[in-house]
């Protein structure tokens, strides 16, 4: 009702726009996008602490996705935004690079989980275990842990050199991917005999097993250093020559001398960006091949799928392995980025967190899952923290609410919004399930008719243009 009248209002407002030809529309959209991006960037640049400005800037990603621009324009604008604007703004306020890093990291995890939960319909509640496997792979070989195998956790200060050179990180990114995939298959073999709710419970157990292993494998051989975790873990080296060169360009733009840590933040942002782009391409291509169709067929009807010749076990294992490998490579990157891993980073709530992103964004929908990951991350690390900080400021300001005579400083710290993170997630999920169960951006199937030159189907013009628009959207997504 309300939604309908809103739709009518919008269609009236943009009515004149619809009479425009496609080309003209694209030009206007592109101009609008450039102006929007420029304005929000400038705002963030000069007002580096402003949350609203940053959120509006982030929203440009959605605009780029939805506006009817030509694919080339979309590509160029995205590249400029991701490779030039974000680094500059991020070095002005280093926290933004951390946010972007986390968005990319969680998007990759969520896209992986989406293959299992969204495409194949297997509920996995222990997904974070694969992430842990990747993280501990590099944590063990990228630290001095090898020399501590026979010592009690935390007993001796370390002076020896690292086991491997720091740049072995790149090799281990791929190793972590492979190891996680193998663990995914090993888990899958016994687990895939059970279905539905039982599968969820078994995977939940598996997630806890991996975390408990990390917790307790400090004895008899100290592999994981127990609850204290492994630190320091090496980061790959950045060439000094390149950094000096970049400083010449960047220093005047960002207004201060860029530190090594800031360069590391930039490095990890770029590397996760590279991984997430690869992941997106891999997922889109798998999804529109016989593998992806087999996954969805299994989700829709296992009996019919197997009767159509789909090998159930093989395809389910493939889903587990691909999903695990995304988590594995991100685990390696996470370990290097934090230079520290401990079992607490891989608890059950983390699995739920990633699952929330998938459900919120839209199960089975690639853009949806990325939006879900971004929304949850921003809510987690920015909005709630921002509100907490705001309340804190009020508390310290010594202000008083007039009529009821309530002093802000008496406000209990238990009312800190950051402490209600889970409550808020719960509420959001409930509301989503009631009003939009398919997620923010629901799954869309690929449209393929009419078959181009082959057989002109009797479609009227309206339908035709709608189909073309769909096809274009699909091209853009890939």
């Amino acid at each position: 009702m309300a939604l309908n009248s809103l739709k009518q209002y919008i269609s009236k407002a943009v009515g004149p726009l619809q009479t425009l030809t496609g080309g003209r529309k694209a030009i206007i959209a592109t101009r609008f996008m450039v102006v929007y991006l420029a304005l929000t960037s400038i705002w963030v640049y000069f007002d580096t602490q402003n949350l609203l400005a940053f959120l509006l800037f982030l929203a440009s990603a959605l605009l780029i996705y939805y506006l009817p621009m030509r694919s080339k324009a979309k590509l160029v604008i995205s590249l400029v935004a991701a490779l030039i604007i974000v680094p500059v703004l991020g070095i002005r306020n280093i926290f933004y690079l951390e946010v972007m890093f986390q968005i990319c990291l969680f998007s990759s995890l969520a896209l992986g989980l989406n293959i299992v939960v969204g495409f194949t319909g297997l509920l996995n509640l222990g997904y974070v275990a694969f992430y842990a496997v990747g993280a501990y792979t590099w944590a063990f070989f990228g630290s001095q842990q090898m020399y501590l195998l026979h010592s009690i956790p935390g007993s001796q200060p370390l002076t020896n050199a690292f086991l491997l050179p720091a740049d072995a990180f790149y090799l281990f990114a791929f190793l972590g991917l492979g190891v996680a995939a193998i663990v995914g298959i090993l888990l899958g073999l016994p687990v895939l005999r059970v279905r539905g709710d039982y599968l969820a419970i078994v995977t939940l157990g598996f997630g806890e097993v991996i975390r408990e292993l990390a917790n307790n494998l400090d004895h008899p051989l100290n592999l994981t250093n127990g609850p204290q975790g492994i630190t320091p873990i090496q980061r790959p080296t950045l060439p000094t020559g390149l950094l000096d060169g970049l400083r010449v360009i960047l220093n005047p733009i960002v207004g201060h001398s860029v530190t090594l840590d800031e360069f590391y933040n930039l490095f990890f942002y770029l590397i996760t960006l590279l991984v997430i782009l690869t992941v997106v391409v891999v997922v889109i291509r798998l999804n529109s091949s016989k593998i992806g169709r087999a996954w969805t067929a299994i989700r829709e009807d296992e009996v019919a799928a197997v009767a159509m010749g789909i090998p159930l076990v093989k395809m389910k294992l493939a889903a587990f392995a691909v999903a695990a490998s995304f988590a594995g490579i991100m685990g390696v990157i996470f370990a290097a980025n934090r230079t520290f891993v401990s079992p607490e980073s891989f608890n059950f709530l983390q699995s739920i967190n990633v699952l929330t992103m998938v459900i919120l964004g839209g199960m089975g929908s690639i853009p949806g899952v990325i939006v879900g990951a971004a929304a949850v991350t921003v809510l987690n690390v920015q909005v709630l923290q921002g509100l907490s900080l705001g309340l804190n400021d009020l508390r310290q300001s010594g202000g008083v609410i007039p009529i009821i005579n309530f002093a802000w400083k008496d406000l209990s710290s238990q009312l800190d919004p950051a402490k209600y993170q889970r409550l808020l997630f719960g509420l959001i999920l409930i509301i989503m399930m009631i009003y939009r169960p398919a997620g923010i951006i629901p799954e869309k199937r690929r449209k393929r008719m009419p078959p181009g030159s082959e057989k002109p189907k009797e479609l009227d013009n309206n339908n035709n243009s709608a189909v073309e628009a769909h096809q274009e959207a699909h091209h853009d997504a890939s």
Binding site: K290, R446, R448
Partner: protein, 265 residues
């Protein structure tokens, strides 16, 4: 040439014998039917043929292969396709995608070609799509390629199921009550379609059906099951006048009356 042969196939569920010592043969290029009252074990027999159930006893031979102990996907790869009594489509996939899934076993694409979008991969996908369009034409689906399978009316969904089964290029097509719930006009179309499947595509058909118009109209031979056993076998004319068949359908008293009047249907 014999395409399908079963000997003494028995399937039990606990104490219930759903199919008992079933002997059945079908020649290549024929249309045969299995009929029988509800619960006679017809669908269970189909499920043992397609590997969903493993028979406790007996042998199944198809086109030179033994089927007992093979998984459903392996049996599908040997060129047996089926449809289901209560339509089982992939509801949230489009009609095109449903049919493409049926083609899965025939596609050669590997993961590397898929990830790199190799020329062979694209060519195969294009070809598969074209074949899908031909199949939609063949079964009479028009302008619905991009619709979700679940959004089509009943008759359309039946057609998709048949197209999906045909997509796997079967030698033998098992149809489980394909005209159930259709009106007479739709049933006539379906009969025409089954004939074309056999005549134009050379696919052998085995039907389970209740509609006697379909059964008598197109089957060359009919097998009648009751309580898990084969009680009769023969041409439509023979079955029509078989006392045991009429008894199974209508009961003993009615059977005598019917016979006097000249058979079922």
């Amino acid at each position: 040439m014999t395409l399908l042969e079963t000997k003494g196939v028995t399937k039990r569920f606990g104490g219930l014998v759903a199919v008992h010592a079933m002997d059945f043969t079908e020649e290549e290029g024929k249309i045969y039917s299995i009929i029988g009252p509800n619960g006679a074990g017809k669908t269970t027999f189909f499920n043992t043929l397609t590997g969903i159930y493993r028979p406790e006893e007996g042998e199944i031979h198809f086109d030179g292969h033994s089927l007992v102990g093979r998984r459903p996907d392996q049996i599908s790869a040997l060129a047996i396709a089926r449809t289901f009594q209560n339509i089982r489509l992939f509801g949230t996939m489009t009609v095109v995608e449903n049919i493409l899934v049926g083609m899965n076993n025939r596609l050669r694409q590997n993961s590397f070609g898929t990830l790199l979008h190799s020329r062979a991969f694209k060519a195969e996908e294009d070809q598969a799509f074209q074949r899908t369009c031909e199949l939609m034409d063949f079964v009479g689906l028009k302008n619905v390629g991009d619709e979700l399978a679940s959004s089509l009316p009943y008759g359309g969904q039946r057609r998709i199921e048949i197209a999906r089964a045909l997509a796997s290029q079967p030698k033998l097509l098992l149809l489980d009550e394909p005209t159930a719930g259709m009106n007479p006009h739709e049933t006539d179309d379906a009969i025409g379609l089954f004939r074309r499947v056999r005549d134009e595509l050379g696919i052998t058909i085995l039907l389970i059906e209740h509609d006697m118009r379909v059964v008598m109209g197109i089957s060359e031979r009919i097998t009648v099951m009751d309580y898990g056993e084969k009680i009769a076998e023969g041409t439509p004319a023979e079955i029509r006048s078989n006392a045991r068949v009429i008894e199974a359908y209508l009961g003993r008293g009615a059977a005598a009356e019917q016979l006097a009047e000249g058979g079922v249907a």
